[in-house]
Symmetry: C2
Subunit: 276 residues, 2 copies
């Protein structure tokens, strides 16, 4: 984007920029660049200088300057500690609040997950299906947890998460293939399955059993069961997870104990009401 590169990209022939053929006519570049500034902080949390942001976002320093100025006024950025650098502002939390508030599913799921946590004494999560990743929207932890395991907004690849597997079990084979094909099948741990056929096998198993069971694939020492939450058309839109530690459970005993609970909760949240 920007300058000569940008002018070329504006020509009829759009080579192969990034996304699959976005309508250059309607896309508002300035907005995209402003968002890119915010997104730069995903690869570098904490304060950054204009130049650093520019490098990460692939923008000119001048552009970042004006975008940062605007985002500063709007509260989406704030000045760093000593007036040096920029970091994310609290306004980004407001948008997340609006999001969480706007999904009836999330409101309905909140008491259900609370009960589930109290009943299981393990960590329980609700994740939202978002194509190649799932995104945690509700989290109820038990005892000590890693910091990231407490954060809403955390994403995990669909292909190697218990929730993702449970969701894929409710998709057609074609859709599962599409997800596996477009995913970067990179191992998060040494135990992560990266062979498409092996993953398909696990999806089949989840179809038979009605839940997915995953251990050590996204975090070593963690075992999790999950069941998909379906919308009124029986399409999977989310998943209920129960996650525990392999120091306390074998995968089998964990599944035996908690898969019925996850299934019950997911069933209670399925159907009836629109998710959003």
């Amino acid at each position: 984007m920007g300058g000569f590169v940008n002018s070329l990209a504006t020509l009829p022939e759009q080579p192969d920029e990034d996304s699959p053929a976005i309508d250059q006519r309607q896309f508002v570049n300035s907005l995209g660049k402003g968002i890119a500034v915010l997104e730069a902080f995903s690869s570098h949390p904490g304060a950054m200088s204009l130049q650093e942001i520019a490098d990460l976002a692939g923008l000119d320093k001048s552009t970042v300057q004006r975008m940062a100025y605007t985002l500063l006024q709007l509260g989406y950025l704030r000045k760093g500690l000593d007036g040096r650098g920029f970091c994310l502002g609290t306004k980004v939390l407001d948008r997340a609040f609006d999001f969480l508030r706007s999904w009836p599913l999330i409101e309905r799921a909140t008491p259900v997950l609370n009960e589930l946590q109290l009943g299981s004494h393990e960590r329980v999560d609700l994740s939202i299906f978002d194509d190649l990743t799932i995104c945690y929207a509700i989290r109820r932890q038990s005892k000590r947890q890693t910091f990231y395991a407490t954060l809403v907004g955390r994403r995990i690849p669909t292909f190697c998460s218990s929730g993702g597997r449970a969701i894929m079990a409710r998709l057609s084979d074609g859709e599962v293939d599409s997800i596996l094909r477009r995913s970067d099948l990179i191992a998060l741990t040494p135990k992560t399955l990266t062979d498409p056929d092996a993953i398909r096998e696990e999806v089949q198993r989840a179809r038979r059993e009605g839940f997915s069971l995953v251990h050590d694939e996204s975090l070593i020492g963690e075992v999790a069961v999950a069941c998909a939450v379906l919308d009124h058309r029986a399409r999977p839109v989310a998943a209920v997870h129960i996650a525990g530690s392999l120091s306390e459970w074998s995968p089998e005993s964990f599944a035996k104990r908690f898969s019925p609970l996850a299934a019950e909760a997911a069933g209670a949240l399925s159907g009836a009401i629109a998710p959003f």
Copy 2:
């Protein structure tokens, strides 16, 4: 904004738009409008048509169309249920994730708040000071809670929240006056203090006691104690809350039982490390 109105606003004389004299030269209007589209969902959660968004955001339908198209491509909006309307997309959660991840204070506070919740069996929160409001960043609930009491990103006015009072107790009188003057002193409940002098009195009390005690002011039946978290320059940046129900506690017994715990946690989080 936009069109003739906008051209007028671009002239040297900026009448009295909204914020106190923002530099029209550097402000990127398109970005502001795109953000305005996202913010429209704060006054109307759920799916909206282009026209509805336009009305709420004060923009032209055409403008909203292109902004929505862009935000759709970027994942910050998604199509409504049956392809009709737009609602917030999961990407807004990603930004919140980045924010939470980027504050060392939040990472440090997570285990502390966990302990505090397990020790108190009441709801505990960490809120971030943001001028006229405080914004909840970490929430650990006990039993059943109202939905909103579980949401990160929720804001409460500084003047009537326990956290806000605790924070004001660490500000100068001038700063407190400034906050009270600029706040809309609107009662959230019949018990909310709206008289500046009465609030100043409470702030004084919090200064003496080292914690703030508030009940029925933001939610009927709720009692809460809070202590400010200070940065390395002894400036308040956040607050630790402990909130319970008046059906189980009197304000006095609640304060006696939990104010030491809140003070201890806030103390442990203060000083030393930069908050962001």
